[in-house]
Symmetry: C2
Subunit: 374 residues, 2 copies
């Protein structure tokens, strides 16, 4: 799998460049991968960024400083942690094929757990006592069956799932920095997971989690896993967002049913009504994965593709493309595919314009390949 | 719909003959309908019975006496009840197309309820308090929406469903006689249903219910209804038998989910896993009936067909057919269709042989068109 352009492990300079690139303002994972493909390396992309942003309409643009990146690396090392890069052996194999796979993950604990097959378990923070007991037992059984149990280290079901799988293998994906305890009541569990499992974060260490981080965190939980088990979830809850991501990512969605009289079960019952597999035990989940296995699109991991030079485009062509794209876009997220259909321009020109707009801070990317103008 | 051979309402003599025929030993509903078709009337069938039984291998055969039938009719009248015959206006329209539709139903209360559209609700006898409350409320809502709620007058969910629908319309199908209170704790409800709803029985008045009556009773509950809602049912419970009958009869099966930790929900969860529609409210049931309506095989009621004379068959042909049929049959129930495929004989000869064997007490019929040798 190793070729000159796509080493399995980054060298220290590359890792620093990757970190600088992904921490640079307006560079999200999709843009990161596009830049890497177009320019061949993070270093080359960093050099090109100011000019690209300028073409997107931004006069002053600063890339993330080497100092700041070095400080982050030092902080990770002080915590005994590791920065795992996309394409490296420890990178979660199920996450790798996704368009918005994080280029770098901060890991505290045992990074080798990320490469193992994972099942996600999520559910209500205000879970019932019996729901938490159920989650703990199911997590224990799934872990005994050889799966890493991945969850979000929230109160309730998440904490119970981590607790049940702790001795065998559990991964917590957090919304803030990997070292930031949240919520406070999970401090003990946080430390136990660092000791026996792994805590994974897309944000830099020290980041205090904010509401906007959680949908993105949920997407990683489902993206890392072959399937997601939802236990006790109210309608319109975060767990249902995770289940929706899972379905979009082609993962299996399992839901534990409950009484219609308990609002904490309305979401899981609704998932079942809409096609999720009803499960009452770890055995059911394992049987479901076996019988549905053919549908699980765990593609062969995509390694970093060879760089493709930017298309030769005149300034005039580029400006016309920007006019077309911005005319079609607004504050409502639109699929890039839809844009391609309506624009009648080459995909590479549109990708370039979107990239430049994003760097200039004029465009937002959303899960599922959607974009909107700011 | 009225033609000379198939009056919509039986005259008193016909009703007496029908009652004698169906109460005669070894004459079940399937055989009853075949005899009626073959001989044109119950009176003619009664006259032919001893000879048919003799051909099936039985030397002495007595039809049900006129006296006994008159005593039963008198008892029904004393109770203020009514005997509703297959094909009469009050006969449940959904039951009519079934091969084993009872020729006569004893009804106490308001027989006109039987002709209305019915939804069955069944569930655990040892139901939880919340399950019973849920059943009562759902029954109330379904009845308010215009449905008769049909159940089996057992403890638990059945009683709650009848109670919720009592004022609007409820039908209780019982395993014993319509006048026999069972269980004793439902005495008050039994009386209330006679006053405001209807109690329906296939067995004669005065019959004490026995275990073997209940599967048959369950089959009538589902057969009378467009759909069956199951609330709290353990694995291997009677409610699941009703659900299986419902599926065989092409009725919709609805199930209310529950916690995997409650054994009373394992059956309903299992139904959902196997394709039943998950419902959390009467609204869900009504929506399900609407959206699945195309699949509901509420065929146009079959009226009594014109009689078809018995085929001309030599004694030799008949004996050979009996040899073939009895060679293929054993104590394990086998579908009649399978028998037809393997026998290479005309369906009418096989039907005749089966009928004669049944009358002679050598053959049992089972739900779903299965037969076995005794």
């Amino acid at each position: 799998m190793v070729c000159s352009m796509t080493p399995d492990t980054l060298n220290p300079q590359e890792r620093l460049d990757w970190l600088r690139l992904i921490r640079t303002e307006n560079v999200g994972p999709v843009t990161f991968h596009q830049l890497l493909q177009r320019h061949g390396s993070a270093a080359a992309a960093l050099a090109a960024l100011p000019d690209l942003a300028k073409r997107g309409g931004r006069k002053h643009f600063a890339v993330w400083s080497r100092d700041a990146a070095e400080r982050e690396l030092a902080a990770i090392h002080r915590l005994g942690g590791k920065l795992v890069a996309w394409g490296e052996p420890d990178y979660p194999p199920n996450l790798e094929p996704l368009d918005d796979a994080p280029p770098l993950l901060t890991v505290l604990g045992r990074p080798e757990l990320l490469a193992r097959k994972s099942i996600a378990m999520v559910g209500a923070r205000n879970a019932s006592a019996s729901g938490q007991r159920f989650a703990r037992e199911m997590a224990y059984d799934l872990a005994r069956a050889g799966f890493v149990v991945t969850s979000g280290l929230a109160r309730g079901i998440d904490a119970a799932a981590h607790g049940g799988a702790l001795a065998q293998g559990t991964v917590a994906v957090v919304g803030g920095g990997a070292d930031v305890v949240y919520p406070e009541e999970n401090r003990g569990l946080h430390e136990e997971i660092i000791a026996e499992g792994a805590i994974v974060a897309e944000c830099p260490v020290g980041t205090v989690p904010q509401a906007r981080h959680f949908p993105r965190r949920n997407r990683l939980i489902s993206g890392m896993s072959v399937g997601v088990v939802v236990i006790e979830a109210a309608l319109k809850s975060g767990s249902l967002i995770t289940a929706r991501f899972a379905a979009e990512q082609g993962r299996e969605v399992f839901a534990v049913p409950g009484s219609p009289l308990d609002p904490r079960c309305r979401g899981t019952n609704d998932l079942i009504r809409n096609g999720a597999t009803l499960v009452e035990s770890a055995e059911d989940v394992l049987a479901g994965l076996l019988s549905l296995g053919g549908r699980t699109p765990v593609e062969p991991p995509r390694r970093r593709p060879a760089p493709r030079p930017a298309p030769e485009t005149t300034q005039n062509e580029r400006d016309e493309a920007e006019t077309s794209v911005t005319r079609l876009l607004g504050p409502t997220p639109v699929p890039v595919d839809e844009l391609l259909r309506q624009c009648h321009l080459s995909p590479s020109i549109i990708a370039m314009v979107l990239l430049e707009l994003e760097l200039a801070g004029r465009l937002d990317r959303h899960p599922g390949g959607l974009v909107s103008l700011r």
